[in-house]
Point group: C2
Chain length 192, copies 2
Amino acid sequence: MAAGPQNVRRMPRAQRREQILDAATRAFARTGYVATGLDGVTAEAGVTSVLLYRHFDSKADLYRAVLDRACARLEATVGSSDFDEGSISALLRAAAEDPDGFRLLFRHAAREPDFRDVVDGIRAMSAEVTRRELAAVIPEGPWLDWAVQYVPTVTLEAVIAWLDAGQPDPDQAADRIALVVHSAIRAANSVD
Amino acid sequence: MAAGPQNVRRMPRAQRREQILDAATRAFARTGYVATGLDGVTAEAGVTSVLLYRHFDSKADLYRAVLDRACARLEATVGSSDFDEGSISALLRAAAEDPDGFRLLFRHAAREPDFRDVVDGIRAMSAEVTRRELAAVIPEGPWLDWAVQYVPTVTLEAVIAWLDAGQPDPDQAADRIALVVHSAIRAANSVD
DNA sequence: AGCTTTGTTTAAGTCAACTTATACAAGATG
DNA sequence: CATCTTGTATAAGTTGACTTAAACAAAGCT
């Protein structure tokens, strides 16, 4: 039989690739790399697995493409803004522009042994900047270490929670988050 | 040949079970459920996989036992302390008593589709308490939702970062973390 | 019209990781 | 000392998920 496909949506190769990447981002954002089967991706994309393999060599290859793109978008939006006030609102803008990619990067990829290296690029840079900033305020010691790890986390989790809450008050959001971040720095410095 | 085992350390069944659970907790704490092979567990425990299967029906069964024990310990230490000042220091005590279990629960299990239910028990209770506390301070709306999700996260991540920093100043730690938590609540409430 | 590209369907191949089976060694215990 | 339990070693079985293969249909361009 092999009933031929009736209403097949054809696309130029590049566009299809993007569409698959979009779908894969959504699919992976739900449950991460291992727990997301290729079925999940193909279902989300509305495409057969065979076609998928005509665009990507393997599941790992696809995942890396997804992460790289999310990473590139993030860097494009956040850019070179150092760790000043503006960087938080830049982060919010980036998250709003690509929520699934954002969640995927920091909720899942950051904890996946085979792929943390992608995020570690950002992470390392961010940690270095953070350390330099904090070293001027917090005395050397374990609480500086604590802050260096904790401050980026607090920031990212605030943004993710903001996404989950429906992205309210984009203008004020940065200020509110800044409050918490500063408080974390103060907490590392001394107990009032 | 089958060179018989020379120096075999024998143990009563119950004790061996605990020893395996300890080892499995350490092993799983590193990379979570899927990414940790049974080899990882057996290597850490110093036993054969056959013996492992004489104590647990399956990998999933073992993992659940690990999580349940960690959960039980946590609840035993934190107890019924409501969301007051004392609960943070109770959390610190619990984390210090079982660091691997703590990290495993909140870093990994919380994000694993098949096992999040274990943590969700805690999570739901904690969220409900949090919401009741916050509802008295924060007006209904998306920022309340934000805080309800964010406050527990901020707390847990602070504790984990504290573990990673080498558990400095156990006495002051609770106060420092409380500062950040209160600041998060204030942030949700209004921008100064 | 003919060739290339995009797509589908169906089926089979591969491989790692979990799981079971079998046989044997040696401590504990009554 | 007979027996039960704890342990090992080695090998085979099973399965789910990823991956390839083969054959065919239709859109689109030259």
